[in-house]
Amino acid sequence: MGDTNLLDYVIQKSGQDVLSCYHCQKCAAGCPVAPFMDIQPNVIHRLLQYGRDDEILKSATIWICAACETCGARCPNDIDIAKVNDALKQYAVREGIKGKEKGMPAMHNAFLSGIEKRGRMHEVSLIRELRMKTGGLFKDMKLGIKMFKLGKLPLFSEKVKNMGEIKKLFEKARRAQ
């Protein structure tokens, strides 16, 4: 990341003026998943100011954020914390920093690699690849069977014919990091 600290990186990448946060905690109050977070959404800004990058990047908060934009809509200083968390997730993945939350990164990686292969998301292969990485192969098995019986879990994935552009897109994305 060069000499700029994480604070400057996040402000630039997410386009959110994190420094204008005056910690009214309206976001934390309205965030549906805040109770499950180890660091409250706005406290991330304070830790960025203190330069406690490690603590942030290893937190469960940035992965649990469901990007439902409630905070962004209600923040008096118009800070969209979902975008801040995106910038932090992207940075953590790129720097290979593993945090408390293992499931979500694995799920997102499996999702994108599926698209790189097929151009479209295929639930069965996504779940298979995810469970192989994080274990719990038989989780939701009962539900899975029921959905399969209802014809909602096609075994064969649809594939995009012209994959050339997709391949190029993923290539350039990797190089752009």
Partner: protein
Amino acid sequence: MPQKKIGVFVCHCGINIASVVQIEELVKRLQESSGVYYATDYKYMCSEPGQASIRDAIKEKELDGIVVACCSPSLHELTFRRTSSSVDLNPYLCEIANIREHCSWVHSDSTLATEKAQEIIETIVEKVRLDEALDPIKVPVNKRAMVIGGGISGIQSALDIADSGYPVILVEREAAIGGHMAELSDTFLTLEKSSELLSAKQREVSVHSNIQLLTYSEVEDLDGYVGNFKATIKKKAKMVDWDKCDGCGKCIAVCPVKVPFDQEHPLGKENAIYLPLLEAGPKRVVIDKGICQHFSGECSECQTACPKSAIHFDEQDETLEEEIGAVVVATGYSMYPKDRIGEYGVDGCEDVIDGLQFERMLAAWERGEGPLRRPSDGKTPRDVVFVQCSGSRDPEHAMPYCSRICCMYTVKEAMVYRKAVPDGQAYVFYIDIRTGGKGCEEFTQGGIADNRLIYMRGKVSKLYREGDKVVVWGVDTLMGKKVEIAADLVVLATATVPSPGAKELAQRLKVSADDYGFFQEVHPKLRPVESPTAGIFLSGAARAPMDIPESIMHASGAASKVLALFSQDDISHEPIVAFVDEDYCSGCGVCVETCPYGARELQGRKRVAKVIEVLCQGCGACIAACPNGACQQRNFQAEQCLYMLDAAL
């Protein structure tokens, strides 16, 4: 004396009176009552139709006096007296019988209440029967004002009054006007240089034909009353002949007395002899007798060093007497002494300063006097911690009130500091950020974000020196964790308190001050710029902590009150005052001591007590004290009161 034709007007006050007092029964009984010539009632006497009925009755029945039975006199006495005088009935022959607060509101038994109402009315009828027609007392107004204090408030009040064409004496304790504003760096919201804003005003004062500037002077005493004050002013000896002195500064160089940096002092005063920041004209030195060692020892270094031998220690203070009509108190504020806050370790810490001292450091940097230097070792502070509410909002140890201006000047100081030290980091420990006022919140939040100030919510518990750092123990309540910062410099936003000597001045002016020493206003909401003593007005921070914009508003507010006073050639005073029957007065002087308003004096060859009618507030203390009944009060004479008692019992 022919029987006076007295009319009684009973008000229903909607249901407030009528719901308890039986109005018709009362009016019927009043019509039969001996002292009453005419009696009637109406739903709302104070309404326009109600007052019209009174006016018509007075004219048709040629009434000699009226009683309005309604609510408390403090509500509508004035209204009904104006109604009476509008039909040429002397207003002091119109009296109020309070049958609401004193009767219907406090009773429920309607028969008894009606009887009581009748008694109250008949008592007042007796009073009107013996009332004399009176006219307000006229007092000439000396249209000349005195402003005490030459800070921005005093300057603004003086200019407003002088610009309206009235002469003003501006008395300033220090050798130059400008007050604390002269010491500031930039001022918030526009970040303009404080000295630049001030110098325009200072020049205006020094050249204004209507303003007589008395610097290095203090008000010793104030006598007299509104429109006719007599002020005794002490012009302190400068001990320097300003015609000879050209401000070369040789004397300053040799002066052994050093004014400590963190002791409150006017700008430029580093020694006992110093160059005050004069608003205009050449630089000239002044000696502060209080700390000059010539008087406490035998030093006369400056005298010998002066090439023009302009210094002579024998110059005496001068005392002046000035006749004035109005006084504006603009004594301003000072900072709560920081070494009174033991836990902020101030005893050994030169690098723990207060907000005003940091202003001086920032102003010096802005004047290009080199980089920011901290008091202990002159190093440029990289980490500066601001500690808010030092001594404010602290009922237990210091001032319980919020000093109002620190949140704003702290963020501004932090912004100016970041200009002076671009790679410096400013931390602010606060309990609440109180930046109400136009444009203040945007200024603050913008300042915090743009300058990467770290604002932490938590009151600092302890400061102490460790090596060359000042360690700050605070908490960040957001994290719920203790925060320890090793700072190069700590700026305490100490409480704003009245300027030294304010309490004593209040006593000399016979004006009340609250227990912190801020001057007391008549009414905090409705009459904020007037003191309870008529003719004395309050301008700026002398009344309560306030920033420069508010000081200007209050200054002009006080000035407008002075102009209102000066707009009349004379002022009228309630005529219900005491008077002395000289035949009975034995000149014992008891009444003179008892009078709380100084409205009494023994006069003439016969040494007979005389009432200064303008000062008399009609409290009756002298009447009670007078041993031989020589003293009476108009329309409350003893005989009258006895009759009223008969009617009441």
